[in-house]
Amino acid sequence: MDLFLAYQSLLAFVGINGLLALSVYATLSCGQLSLANAGFMAIGAYTGALITLHAKGVPFVAVLAASALAPAIVAVPLGLPVLRLRGVFLAIATVRLAFVNWDYTNGAMGLVAIPQRTKLWTIALSLALTLFVLGRLRGSRTGYALEAIREDETAARTMGIYTTGHKMAMLVLGAAIAGLAGGLEAHFTFMVAPGTYRFERVVEWLVQAVVGGTAAFYGPVVGAAFLTVLPEVLREAGARLGLAPGPFRLFLNGAILLAVILYLPNGLVSLPARFRRRAAGLA
């Protein structure tokens, strides 16, 4: 039980990062790379935090729903011009929100003293719900349409798939997941600040999604768990082995990431199948 308490916040961040990796995966599943999710997360976090701070008595479920809904609404006008672009979906990467200049959000200081309403089970439930939705998409008519768009957008369109609509739907879904994660995080860490939602974080989630493996809908969660826990493990191991913290850990983190991306093209979730194949080959 002590062990559980000690690792509670690590587990919470595994869950939140898992949600965020899934939000990147959502748009990735139709071949689009959206780097705007840090902004969507920020909208979710601020929406949730402002409701909690200013409207007492709103149940947490409603707060989280608003956290997910607000970025989803914002995603529609943002997506319209950008979805006309094909391929690498970079443009809205750079859209950063002007929270800093808004008195209501307390500027660059951010909002503090947000009550901690997020419990570990709330995160687990949100993650399960998201995985359920994304899992159901696989193998459904929509799921096949998304795969077709990912493989070849022109071919998908000639087959009568409404590509823009599907891409928009996944962008909105991704935004909602990122917003939900933002709302959860804000009520877990007590604070939101504009500096939290930087561009680098989206890249982190993308890395988690790809390292876990995007061939399976649960891959991003595996990747998020792996990459969230890895620095902690390296810290423990480093302390045991008497290695200096800092540069060496950073180095190993980068090296492991490089090794995974070079030698495990389908991500960590492809490992079991690989071992099975190898075992079968030997037998």
Binding site: V82, T94, V95, N101, A108, L206, F248, L250, G254, L262
Partner: protein, 292 residues
């Protein structure tokens, strides 16, 4: 007014120099090289070490650091990009492997130079101020703009006129066709990385001189600006990156002067967004994405 334009051109020349290399690699490989900012940072440290520890003149250290940046680029290509070539998802996996290399580079810089801000020695560059019309500029600022413009012109000429430039452009157009025509594709890509990283490195040294502060994470702030510049200019377009770099520099300086520093990025990104609504391909981008 004139002063702001001058400051904007000065800032913009560094953005443009950074972005030109960034967009060159994108034009050739369709991969966003997230380690570009780490090369930028490493080259700045190399120049610093040469000036502060080896007591070389800046005019010797700068070219050496630029070459060092280029060589780091070749190592980067070898480790993070070449193994992925031919993989279907190479544009996303390349982005991640370059990020991994950026982490490794940052760790190396942290190990050697420490986490604190390092500065060039006081007498690295003569401290002189020059009047241009009603505005003042330091000799350093003028040299930075001049060096950036010369380097960008050299790159443009190199790509347009030389055999190597033709090969790089051929590979950008279609690696397969280039190979059939007898171009050594791997060598052309390695050279593109050398050029890209050399310019990125030069930008790093100039940035380090301009703001006189270098730390292992100095490249991160520039990375997003560089991304905005190459999107605004049109992905893969070198003249586009130059124009957009200067434009962003001027916009940023004016925003800070007129509206305050907290609006610094807001206006830049609003401009970027509006341009993209009107022209999704960027200012000088190609009409359609190359596919297959």
């Amino acid at each position: 007014m004139g002063q702001q334009v001058l400051n904007g051109i000065f800032l913009g020349s560094i953005y443009a120099l950074f972005a030109v290399g960034y967009t060159l690699v994108f034009g050739v490989l369709d991969i966003l090289n997230l380690a570009h900012q780490a090369v930028f940072m490493l080259a700045a440290f190399v120049a610093l070490a040469l000036v502060a520890d080896a007591h070389l003149s800046l005019w010797v250290a700068l070219p050496l650091a630029v070459v060092a940046g280029g060589l780091i680029g070749i190592v980067l290509e070898r480790l993070a990009f070449r193994p992925l070539r031919g993989r279907a998802d190479s544009n996303i996996s390349g982005l991640i492997s370059s990020l991994a290399m950026a982490t490794v580079f940052e760790a190396i810089a942290l190990q050697i130079f420490g986490p604190d801000i390092s500065r060039f020695p006081q007498d690295t560059f003569p401290d002189r101020v020059i009047q241009i019309g009603g505005a003042t500029a330091s000799l350093l600022q003028i040299c930075i703009v001049a060096i950036s413009v010369v380097l960008m012109a050299v790159l443009t000429l190199l790509l347009a006129r030389t055999r190597l430039g033709r090969q790089i452009r051929a590979v950008a157009e279609s690696p397969r066709a280039a190979r059939i025509l007898g171009v050594n594709v791997d060598r052309a890509i390695a050279m593109a990385f050398f050029l890209s990283s050399a310019l990125g490195g030069a930008a790093g040294v100039l940035f380090g001189l301009a703001f006189n502060s270098i730390s292992p994470d100095v490249g991160r702030g520039v990375e997003l600006k560089g991304l905005a510049v190459i999107i605004l200019g049109g992905m893969g377009s070198i003249p586009g990156a130059v124009i957009a770099g200067f434009a962003l520099g001027v916009i940023e300086v004016f925003t800070v002067a007129q509206l305050g520093s907290s609006f610094r990025d807001v206006v830049s990104f609003a401009v970027l967004f509006l341009v993209l609504i009107a022209r999704p391909r960027g200012l000088l981008g190609r009409a359609a994405a190359r596919e297959a």
